[in-house]
């Protein structure tokens, strides 16, 4: 039963993280996204060997979250249900070696079905929905799986070029087992024609990486007569095995791991 033997050994808490591949991410300065012009550092990042400061991170407990925190259809409902397409979003959080990231905090936020955010700074004409807040949070389970339920967000215009529109998207913030894994991204929906021209998506220099942000319709996870489902898998930085040379908190010779 060789299939049962995991090909990758389990990570240990103080294994270091693989170095980040800048080609997988947008550069800080991406002129098509105008706001990045004055908000992008111009000096090179200083690369440091990881220490306890980078391999540790806060751990979250299920009891810190409320029972409806992962249900955006109900967690702000005041007088009825929110308007729009009932949608389940789910997937796994894994590291680069394919291991599930357990107990990761996944926080999401989004506009409502009209493309309007419940935020005091959003002035878009699209109507607020009195029954939709637009945020949620869940922890991944022992298989690294997460799931939440929401209303599919609408696209909306934004001030970049004068007629730029954001495709429908959900913001994700993921907190894994190490500070070096901290990641914020955005999830898009398969088939959205605005994906091709979005200046924020186009900050990513790699088509394969863009495809990785597009959730796929997943009818196997849909609830008949209730909700469609989309699948969005997330990969965080992987921990590399440090069998012989762990030097995080000792000289690597005297003290056994």
């Amino acid at each position: 039963m060789s299939d049962d033997i995991p090909s990758v050994p389990a990570a240990r808490p103080d294994d270091e993280y693989l170095m980040r591949d800048p080609a997988s991410h947008p550069p800080a300065f991406a002129p098509g996204y105008k706001t990045s012009a004055l908000r992008s550092p111009r000096n090179a990042l200083i690369s440091i060997g990881q220490t306890l400061s980078e391999v540790t991170a806060p751990a979250f407990r299920a009891e810190e979250l409320g029972p409806l925190d992962g249900d955006l259809i109900r967690n702000y409902a005041k007088t009825g249900l929110p308007v729009g397409e009932r949608t389940i979003v789910h997937g796994t959080v894994r590291d680069q070696l394919g291991r599930p990231v357990r107990n990761a905090l996944v926080e999401v936020w989004q506009a409502n079905a009209s493309g309007r955010y419940r935020h005091k700074k959003d002035q878009y004409l699209g109507a607020l929905d009195p029954n939709f807040g637009g945020c949620g949070r869940v922890l991944t389970d022992e298989n690294g799986h997460y799931v939440f339920r929401t209303i599919k967000p609408g696209p909306y215009p934004w001030r970049n070029r004068i007629n730029d529109w954001r495709p429908a998207h959900i913001h994700f913030a993921i907190s894994g087992s190490g500070w070096a894994q901290r990641l914020i991204t955005q999830m898009y929906f398969e088939g959205d024609p605005l994906i091709a021209t979005c200046p924020i998506i186009r900050t990513i220099p790699d088509e394969q990486q863009i495809r990785g942000l597009i959730a796929q319709l997943d009818m196997a996870a849909a609830v008949p007569l209730d909700s469609r489902a989309f699948r969005f898998d997330i990969v965080l930085r992987g921990q590399r095995a440090t069998w012989f040379e762990n030097v995080l908190q000792s000289n690597g010779q005297g003290e056994a791991r």
Binding site: L38, R39, N43, I48, G66, R118, H119, C135, T203
Partner: protein, 206 residues
Amino acid sequence: MTPLLRETASQTAGPYVHIGLAPKAAGFDIFENDFGPVLTTAETQGERIVIEGRVFDGSGTPLRDVLLELWQANAQGRYAHAADRQPGKALDNAFRGWGRACSDFDTGMWSFETIKPGPVAGRHGVAMAPHVNLWIVARGINIGLHTRMYFDDEAQANAADPVLALVEWEVRRRTLVGRREQRDGKTVYRFDIHLQGDDETVFFDV
């Protein structure tokens, strides 16, 4: 060879990051338990401090839509995490060491209420000077920025810090040091962050 997956691409947190990470700042109440900028309770051990500042863009204008997260060791210099096995340093059950703060929508000021951390062992057992780790996200920032704040009253430890020593340009190291002040009976460390310009803060590839 072990096949490697690629890390999911980063995208900006956008202007409405508060909705997801600090909904009260966005103007509404939804979660029973919000994650905020106060890291301490009455039981937390250590010297109470405030860390505050602003984040400036390349024109010198403060960002008024930035969100920062802070991660630090406890007063003894131990992180609340399974990886930390430093001998002789106890966990503080009243201190997780993590918080998040939003800048004020008018002034751009942000602040954390925390304790001064102890020194943590660095690589090869070389002690690092006390520091807190900061992660900065906002509209226009395409991938979260990592930096550290050290303490200006720890000059000797800072001079021996192996991470500060990696900043080849000594003139840039001061961008990583908070300035201690006393105000209204509180100890405040002021730490302004510059995304661009002559005083551009050192950011780390961790």
